[in-house]
């Protein structure tokens, strides 16, 4: 069914140009000498230098990383537990409410999540800072982990676990030695998703961060509200580069793994 080739080629070219040109322009102009971002005045890396000397940016980046690592790790544990409950626990009182609370954050506007959490933190007198951002990020990203892990658990063959139990494993050992290694790719992608969501979040962090903690998106936000800035172009380039390297490496690794698996299956088939 490979036809309309010129049409397909044009739509793919235009489509990917639309997706990538804006970022490409951003990257090119991050090497612009001039402070006037829209006028090219020669190649320079001075904005990278300025950025790395700007302590406010470095501090914000460190706060963001700490929040993202801690919140995505807690969210992965809680989200995996929630997925096990959703797929395995059967009926229990309050199950509907539970699954509702799991899926709701996926579609909740960020302004509402942020507002409601802020009102909670003020209501119980918790000082706003890194801790409150971590609590907020964990809450909304555990839903994403739960969805990713539960879709893997649904296709999981339970007889493997039952075999482990029959062979004398305790339920915890069966989970640790059989289930966990099998769902591990989903758990890892859940963690990565939670990590990225946390790194990326502006709205919820703005509500739940006090004056004592500024994350990178909040810092970026306050510098770009007034217009384009060359330092932010440099920062964007660095962030895009990190993501690109990460995603390309991940896809190469999965590709190699699936090739190896195919080869093994072929070898096994030949032996049999």
């Amino acid at each position: 069914m490979r036809r309309l080739t010129w049409f397909n080629a044009t739509s793919l070219t235009l489509g990917f140009a639309f997706l990538y040109l804006p970022m490409l322009i951003l990257i090119i102009y991050s090497f612009n000498e001039s402070k006037l971002v829209t006028v090219w005045a020669g190649f320079s890396t001075k904005w990278y230098g300025e950025l790395l000397r700007d302590e406010a940016f470095i501090d914000a980046a460190l706060v963001t990383l700490r929040v993202a690592v801690v919140s995505s790790t807690i969210a992965t544990v809680l989200g995996t537990m929630a997925a096990l409950v959703l797929v395995r626990a059967g009926r229990f009182p309050g199950r509907t409410l539970f699954s509702g609370m799991i899926y709701a954050p996926l579609v909740m506007p960020e302004v509402i999540t942020g507002l409601s959490l802020l009102l909670l933190f003020i209501g119980i007198g918790l000082d706003r800072g890194i801790l409150t951002i971590i609590l907020a990020h964990t809450t909304f990203s555990m839903a994403f982990v739960a969805v990713v892990v539960s879709s893997r658990l649904m296709t999981f063959d339970r007889s493997l676990e039952e075999a482990a139990l029959d062979l004398g494993c305790s339920p915890f050992d069966a989970f640790r030695l059989v289930t966990l290694p099998i769902i591990a790719p989903a758990v890892i992608s859940g963690w990565l998703l939670a990590f990225t969501l946390s790194l990326d979040d502006l709205v919820i962090a703005s509500f739940t961060a006090g004056p004592s903690a500024t994350t990178l998106p909040i810092k970026i936000w306050s510098s770009i509200r007034l217009g384009v800035s060359p330092e932010i172009n440099a920062l964007s380039t660095i962030m895009i580069a990190i993501v690109a390297v990460g995603v390309i490496t991940a896809s190469l690794v999965t590709k190699r793994a699936s090739l190896r698996q195919q080869a093994e299956e072929r070898a096994a088939a030949q032996q049999a």
């Binding site: 397909n8 096990l84 626990a89 960020e110 555990m142 770009i224 895009i240």
Partner: protein
């Protein structure tokens, strides 16, 4: 026992950090603004016992919700958010479908790479992707420079800080959400169906409308919901690209809270926004369930 702990921990977390905060929003939306810390009244005080609770409840009223209907700003913002979301979803479909179609018809060994190219922007910062358009669309921006240089226009166009810029921003940032479900529907399609349609005398275009489009309907519906639902409450795009001309409810809520410091009205805005969102969310869930049943 272990099962109980497994359920209890995530359950307790969600109750405390998801459900209780909503109760608080609902409660504050029924309170009055006050020059105090926290800036609303009444505050719930359990020391008053039953009588205290009764007087607390009696002080709650729907004043803020009435206020939302009397002040033009709010219902206009709700309507314009819905309008922008509908138009933007349609535009995203128009841009996304041909890309998904092209991907589904691309040679097999390209597909993994094309998939990665669609997913990659999703992992990059949303804020930066929106920001990248500010330099392109501004009056001195790259687009105007290009058009002036090509002689297509004699005066720079004003695009930044208009609804057009908001549409561009939404289509750009939500495009992967539209492409992926449509692509997965198209990829599963059996190509011989098209051949059969053509053997039976359909032109290619008719075959596309009568065979391809209906078979990718589930992907189209899913993609549209995935763009429509988050767009309604969008804050970053209208704030950075829309300027003062674009009215969207997420922005109104933010300004009510941070600039006017009117917590009760901000809470009421949130409650109404949630009520509006419930309809598309339920429709979306039904659609997903129907699809799962059809596949399972």
């Amino acid at each position: 026992m272990r099962r109980l702990a497994l359920i209890a921990l995530p359950y307790a977390w969600l109750l405390a950090l998801f459900l209780v905060p909503f109760g608080i929003v609902l409660k504050i939306s029924l309170s009055d603004i006050a020059l105090a810390i926290p800036p609303y009244t009444p505050t719930l005080d359990f020391s008053g016992g039953w009588a205290g609770l009764k007087s607390f409840v009696s002080q709650l009223d729907f004043e803020n919700f009435v206020f939302l209907t009397t002040d033009d700003l709010y219902w206009k913002a709700y309507l314009s958010s819905l309008q922008i979301a509908v138009i933007a979803t349609f535009l995203t479909l128009l841009v996304g479908y041909p890309i998904a179609y092209g991907m589904a018809n691309a040679p097999d060994h390209w597909r993994a790479t094309l998939m990665m190219l669609v997913i990659l922007p999703f992992w990059t910062s949303f804020l930066i992707r929106v920001y990248s358009w500010m330099g392109i669309l501004s009056t001195e921006g790259y687009l105007n420079q290009l058009l002036l240089w090509a002689g297509l226009i004699s005066e720079p166009l004003t695009i930044l800080n208009t609804p057009v810029a908001v549409y561009i921003g939404i289509v750009y940032t939500y495009l992967p959400f539209m492409i992926l479900p449509i692509y997965s529907a198209l990829e599963r399609m059996d190509g011989s169906l098209l051949e059969a349609a053509e053997d039976l005398g359909c032109s290619r275009l008719t075959a596309f409308w009568l065979v391809t489009v209906p078979l990718s309907k589930n992907g189209i519906v899913a993609g549209c919901f995935l763009v429509f639902i988050p767009t309604i409450g969008e804050f970053v795009i209208p704030s950075l690209l829309g300027g003062s001309q674009t009215l969207m409810i997420g922005k109104v809520l933010w300004e009510e809270f941070f600039n006017n410091r009117d917590w009760p009205v901000a809470s009421a805005v949130a409650v109404v926004l949630l009520l509006i969102l419930i309809v598309p969310i339920i429709l979306f869930q039904r659609n997903q369930q129907k699809q799962q049943e059809a596949e399972g």
